[in-house]
Symmetry: C2
Subunit: 265 residues, 2 copies
């Protein structure tokens, strides 16, 4: 576990980026997508990234089996207040942690609720995985019940965006859809890979679209894909239940193939 | 200069708060306002603050003359991802730096520009001084010309909010006004103190209001109050100039009285 000096801008302002990468036997999954997102974030924030080789070599430090590489790149120290330093010295910090997914959620599905918090729209930061994540923290603080696996987030215009740490997908009238992330939200690497694999349309719609969906899923590059069996409102009242059938395995199996996780059909 | 462990949530998510307090001969200015804002932030984020005495005692560590105490309170380590730990252990970190204001800006006024970036509206975080400050960093990155002292920020609805690190005030048709901060922005401690001292109205208006203002000011608890002599648009074109007259000293003198800075009349 490393440390960071108190004047690092990553701490002072959240002035940096991070990635959490699934490793299997020290081999990264969706590495291309992780590096592409990190690069997009670095361009957006104008932060210089470490060399690709430096980042790739971190994966080799993982133990056998499943692990997570968390890497953080900050703008480093310096500058005058919010003003970035003229000659920045970005800092790379990383840690490798063991990881175990939750197979019961793959197989049995999950119960999910709507969050009260609405995400603010900020296109300048939308999609990238930066260190300003207080909205996610506040949203995840809305419930303590472990029976509820995730919380769905709408933006200030009432449009669906994502869950607190997962992306959202659904099948409706035979079409696969996922929320557009042009205003806010994090473009997950599993989402990116699924968009390249399946015919998924990015849409701007409200939460009512989920009520008559044939299937709804949450997914990210660590946990894989969870089908929803129940959706509650923010007051804890059930809005809709789903019985899992082969349609609920469609996007899940595609996601798990990308991560080396087992098919559920 | 202290350090922070890599898994601190202040770094990971910007999950914390900060204050920068002006000290004169180890005595804090606007201490009550700083502590009140920190308390509001702590309630909003549900973070436990160190005891008041612990915080007050930090001021005694300052050298003679002017200095700045920067204190950071984070939620500490732990939790599962964005989910806060059930039993959090907040961390306090602080540093004292020497400080010198810029008297020429008090006396001669400043040139200011509009920023292109629009602040996202997030009422859950509005007003408090949390560690998610990427919007401010991006806005401050928009210009390098040292002749431009600050940048004005509107929100996504086009309404005036603040400058990158200062609050905004103006005199228009004989009335003192400042933007409402109910949607976004930081409620500065000097602004709080001025609202208690002068008859200032909080309003929701667009930037066109500044064009026929009799006087416009920027202020914070470190720099004091700067009157505007020129306002540029984001393309660098001059929108309006002001010649300083006694009206420009009204709010400035009131602010400086609160900070122990010299009157400019």
């Amino acid at each position: 576990m490393g440390t960071l000096p108190l004047d690092d801008r990553g701490l002072a302002y959240g002035d940096g980026l991070f990635e959490t990468v699934l490793l299997r036997d020290a081999q990264p999954l969706l590495w291309r997508e992780h590096m592409a997102r990190l690069q997009r974030g670095a361009e957006r924030l104008d932060v210089e990234l470490p060399a690709q080789d430096t980042l790739s070599e971190l994966c080799a430090k993982a133990p056998p089996g499943l692990a997570v590489l968390k890497l953080i790149v900050t703008r480093g120290s310096g500058g005058r207040g919010y003003r970035p330093p003229a000659v920045p010295s970005p800092r790379l910090r990383w840690q490798v942690m063991s990881f175990a997914p939750q197979p019961a959620r793959w197989h049995e599905g999950v119960r999910v609720r709507h969050c009260q918090l609405r995400l603010g729209r900020q296109p300048a930061l939308a999609g990238i995985k930066h260190l300003n994540r207080l909205e996610n923290v506040l949203a995840r603080s809305e419930w303590q019940d472990d029976a509820i696996a995730e919380g769905l987030l709408c933006d200030s215009h009432g449009q669906l965006v994502e869950a607190t740490c997962m992306n959202l997908f659904w099948l409706r009238q035979g079409r696969l859809e996922t929320p557009s992330l042009s205003h806010c939200g994090v473009a997950g690497t599993l989402r990116e890979a699924l968009l390249s694999t399946l015919d998924i349309t990015e849409v701007e719609v409200g939460p009512e679209q989920l009520l008559d969906a044939e299937a709804v899923w949450l997914g990210n590059s660590l946990q894989g894909v969870w089908p929803l069996t129940q959706l509650d409102n923010a007051a804890g009242e059930c809005l809709r239940r789903w019985s899992l059938d082969p349609r609920h395995r469609l996007l899940q199996d595609a996601g798990h193939a990308l991560l080396g996780y087992p098919r559920q059909t």
